[in-house]
Amino acid sequence: MSESDTPEIEDAEPLTLPLDGWHRARGGRMVPFAGYWMPVQYEGIIAEHTWTRERAGLFDVSHMGQLFLSGAGEDFQELDAAVEAVLPIDLATLKPGSVRYSLLLNDEGGILDDLMVTRWDSGLYLVVNGATKWDDIGHLREVLPDEVSLNHMEEPALLALQGPEAVAALARVTEGEVAALTFMKGGAFRIAGVDAWISRSGYTGEDGFEISLPGESAAAVADLLCAQPEVKPIGLGARDSLRLEAGLPLYGHDMDEAVDPVSADLAFGINRRRKAEGGFPGADRILPLLRDGAPRKRVGLALEGRQAAREGSLVYDGDREVGVLTSGGFSPTLGHPIAMAYVAADCAANGTGLSIDVRGKRLPAQVVPMPFVPHRYHRTGAVK
């Protein structure tokens, strides 16, 4: 046997993260990912995937970049203005403790990264992708004015606790009303005697939390969380299958510098006022696409049977090549394969019947709405 979809080969020896020894001691199978040794799985991807959908999974996402922007005056108006020149975000509507999805764009409207922006009392806290963080930092240093200071927080670890029972497990061990947070809200809490920033957010489509805490305390907190009956450690393999079911794109696969947010179906990352006013990188290209539509679009595809199609497989409408897969795999929750693809706009309507070429065989597929598996976020005003 040989794997035809081997992971990217890393040039340099991967670095280790604060929980490296913790993962190994728990039986995690470590692989190089985004320049670090990361656990791809513990007991098995499907078991971990299902556990997260039904109970609660603990993910180590310490490879991600945690950045802090501050300075440029005490009232944050100058900081906000400087950041709005770089991101298509409306910071006037971002209240303290609120988290918002945004996009780092180049001048051509291509996506350099996607990120989460949180307003802290002292400035703006950003979480960016691990594989892109060094480029992001270089880009931000170049485009932000000198008055804005950018601090790369390399010390803290980042954990995600995801699943319907995450709130019960986390509330049991956390000082403060962490259960009172709603989706995309965060606050300062204490867990296992250490200060942590916890937000109700994640990358699985489930209710859950992301926890930024000192790296030196990460193992103790991970132990405490995994001692709760609801919680097991989960690897990157299930993280990928969970986010795919949730319809959440993965940077470097489902979008990159060559793709604009409209084609990527991520225009919600451009806030309403910014769509009206423009004045963000790439606006000259993106605003006409918002108005007229893009020639191709990221869509969800559901496959019949059990054979999965992978990234790079071509999509056909009859004999006409109309697109390409950017993610694909078997959905453990649905029991059939699913995929994300960029297809021509005239093939992007829900219900469109297409086919995918897998090693010379055409697999029938249908355009379906995303998420494939409904989100279960704990939104403001939601009934408990």
Partner: protein, 123 residues
């Protein structure tokens, strides 16, 4: 009956002219949860080292190579509905297909169980 192994982690049980092919327990443990097995058609002929089957796991698709040349005489129909059988019993009920050997002399290039165990221990 004798069992032979390849460096690519296939096994073949040989009885006279007939061989039964599967992947090793080590292979299934490395692949993880298997979700689909693409089997060859009965009657198809392959040379040693040809791709005869593809095993899909949650992570990736993996080619399965013919240990020796031969013609497919039967496939494991149970895998269509239960590909996880390969995880549960890779070297038993999770066999993939049966072949008629083209040239039994090709078996000399394969490992026996002792040699394969030593090979895996080094990985």
């Amino acid at each position: 009956m004798s069992r032979y192994f390849t460096k690519d982690h296939e096994w073949i049980d040989v009885s006279g002219e007939t061989g039964t092919v599967g992947i090793t327990d080590y292979a299934q443990s490395q692949l993880g949860d298997i979700t689909f097995v693409e089997l060859p058609e009965s009657g198809a002929s392959f040379g040693a080292g040809d791709t005869a089957s593809v095993v899909d796991s949650v992570k990736a698709a993996s080619d399965i190579y013919m240990p020796v040349g031969g013609t497919v005489t039967a496939i494991n129909e149970a895998l269509a509905d239960a590909p996880e059988l390969v995880n549960a019993a890779a070297e038993g009920d999770g066999w993939l297909f049966k072949v008629t050997l083209a040239d039994a002399a090709e078996l000399a290039a394969l490992m026996d169980e002792t040699a394969y165990k030593a090979y895996v221990a080094e990985l």
